[in-house]
């Protein structure tokens, strides 16, 4: 089945589910489906049972930090009674998010990959996604790793705790803005002292 057909099936069978086709720019031509996180669990069940995508191979978390967009806009302003055209630089912030990508294959039909993505609302307070471990058990450890290293909270995961770092660790090291603690052989620190 092509991705368009899969999208049609998802949107048809699950009312309200939005699935967007994300086109891949590289020669690999592996396009993906961005699924609304509200319907993530239902969509996963449909993909597994209806389309025989019984093998979830890879669960990856990706960090897309906030980006500043600077644009120059020409506006008309009245100064001293005369209308002039001035160039204004406007800075907008494109909010970042955390994204989790699932690579699905079908062992029964020897097909794949079907790439599925879900995004959180932002990187700070709304970082929950539905856990797909009840659908594919292979996501169990990989979602724990995404929680440990990125901070994505998976609702419905049977045992969500840190897996690679120790329990008292507070940072999420794989995020792009992670700053490691200063170690004593950092030359800058030594110079300061």
């Amino acid at each position: 089945m092509t991705l368009e057909e899969i999208r049609g099936r998802l949107q048809g069978d699950i009312p309200g589910c939005q699935a967007e086709l994300v086109v891949n720019g590289s020669p690999s031509a592996q396009n993906s489906l961005l699924i609304d996180r509200q319907y993530g669990l239902e969509a996963a069940r449909l993909l597994r049972d209806g389309l025989q995508l019984d093998f979830c191979s890879n669960v990856t978390a990706v960090d897309w930090p906030d980006q500043d967009k600077t644009e120059k806009i020409k506006t008309k302003q009245t100064i001293d009674g005369v209308e002039k055209e001035i160039e204004e630089t406007r800075k907008t912030k494109i909010p970042g998010y955390l994204e989790v990508v699932y690579h699905l294959f079908s062992m029964a039909n020897k097909e794949g990959p079907v790439v599925m993505r879900m995004r959180t609302a932002n990187r700070t307070d709304d970082v929950t996604l539905p856990s797909l471990t009840p659908v594919w058990r292979s996501a169990e450890f990989q979602e724990r790793e995404a929680f440990d290293l990125y901070g994505v909270v998976f609702k419905g995961h049977p045992d969500l705790r840190r897996i690679l770092m120790w329990e008292g660790f507070t940072d999420h090291p794989m995020r792009k803005d992670y700053v490691p603690p200063p170690d004593d052989d950092d030359l800058e620190i030594l110079r300061e002292r």
Binding site: N24, G25, S26, S28, C56, S57, T60, M107, L164
Partner: protein, 376 residues
């Protein structure tokens, strides 16, 4: 999912043992928190991260080429296949093609890697069962021969750093191919000797048959790949499914198990070694002359177009996949390794419940994990 939950009154009588991270038979720094009722396992939680070396973070700060030596150190017994998995993912990302001779060389070194990995696995499994090192000595004797070949080809015994995007780094000589052919010719004899000592052995059969059964549906749902999956009867070998490289030109069978217990997983390795020998014979016979690198390949300053790719190969442990997201810069934006050993550990608890503590070590040995890959 089978869960053996003891009645509430017995909860206090359970003994909690932490096996590892320093333990002679946990295959590296791996820890298991086990709860026992007498000798029977009631609960088992694996704990890892003791070898988490931040491979993904380092690779995102390094260029595409600089990440290749780090892939050697993922599954440190099988550096050639790790290199191939990464090279395949980058070739998918960039559209590079690999010339025929390089494809054949890749198949040859990958199957040699499979031989020495499976021999080592059987050796370590028997060591865990108490065979005190003798099968391991035999296995390492053959492994040293394969490592000699790797050293004369790539310069290093273990961390070969051999594959490049669009081909391989150096060409192999006719003399090297002759030495490989000699090794392959003698390997069947070694396997016969090995099997004669092991396969019909009473202790091996008593300790492995019926132990650690993995049902078929659970194996598929838990994402188990590699010999463990095929031991449970699922015919899924990436060399036949994806037909990457030139594997579609070789005649070989995929052995399948019936019961999914430790004995089947042991037999998978032995049978796969024999199939690897068949592939090697065909590859050594048919390897063509020609270039070993794609002429369009640029190693330094490689800037793939923005996009993503997922490339996977059948490594000796299972499906090794690399997921790369590029944003047009010389460093990968996201570099992810899909580790077969980590995902194969998902069902460790299910396989061990109800068995004795002595079986836990045997079951762990049959999954064949390498901590460099589990923790990355």
């Amino acid at each position: 999912m089978t869960q053996v939950a003891p009645p509430e009154a017995q909860q206090d009588n359970l003994m909690e043992i932490s096996m590892g991270p320093q333990h002679p038979s946990t295959h590296g720094v791996f820890r298991m928190d086990v709860r026992l009722d007498g000798e029977r396992v009631m609960r088992l939680k694996p704990v890892f991260g003791y070898l988490h070396r931040n491979h993904e973070k380092i690779a995102e700060a390094a260029s595409y080429l600089a990440a290749i030596p780090y892939t050697d150190r993922l599954d440190y017994l099988c550096s050639m296949t790790n290199n191939w998995g990464y090279a395949l993912a980058v070739e998918k990302l960039t559209g590079l093609t690999v010339p025929e001779r390089a494809e054949y060389i890749r198949v040859i070194v990958a199957e040699l890697t499979r031989l020495q990995n499976h021999a080592g696995m059987v050796g370590f499994l028997l060591q865990d069962m108490g065979a005190s090192g003798t099968p391991l000595m035999y296995a390492f004797r053959e492994r040293e021969r394969v490592l000699d070949l790797f050293e004369s080809l790539s310069g290093a015994r273990m961390m070969c750093n051999y594959m490049r995007f669009g081909g391989v780094r150096v060409d192999c000589s006719a003399e090297w191919l002759g030495q490989t052919a000699k090794l392959v010719a003698g390997f069947n004899g070694f396997l016969d000797e090995f099997e004669q000592l092991l396969t019909g052995n009473e202790i091996l059969m008593a300790r492995t048959q019926g132990v650690g059964v993995l049902p078929r549906e659970l194996a598929i749902n838990a994402g188990i790949t590699g010999p463990g999956l095929r031991a449970s009867g699922v015919n899924y070998d990436l060399r036949k499914v994806d037909r990457y490289g030139v594997y579609d030109r070789f005649q070989f069978r995929v052995p399948l198990g019936e019961h999914g217990d430790v004995f089947d997983r042991y037999m998978m390795r032995v049978l796969e070694m024999r199939e690897s020998l068949k592939i090697l014979e065909q590859a050594l016979r048919d390897i063509p002359a020609g270039p070993i690198m794609d002429p369009k390949a640029r190693l330094r300053g490689l800037r793939p177009k923005a996009g993503e790719a997922y490339g996977r190969i059948e490594s000796p442990k299972g499906e090794l996949g690399f997921y790369l997201i590029s944003d047009g810069s010389p460093n990968p934006y996201r570099y992810r390794v899909r580790p077969p050993s980590l995902i194969n550990l998902t069902v460790l608890e299910d396989m061990c419940l109800g068995h004795n503590i002595a079986d836990v070590v045997v079951i762990l040995g049959s999954i064949d994990i390498v901590m460099g890959e589990v923790d990355r």
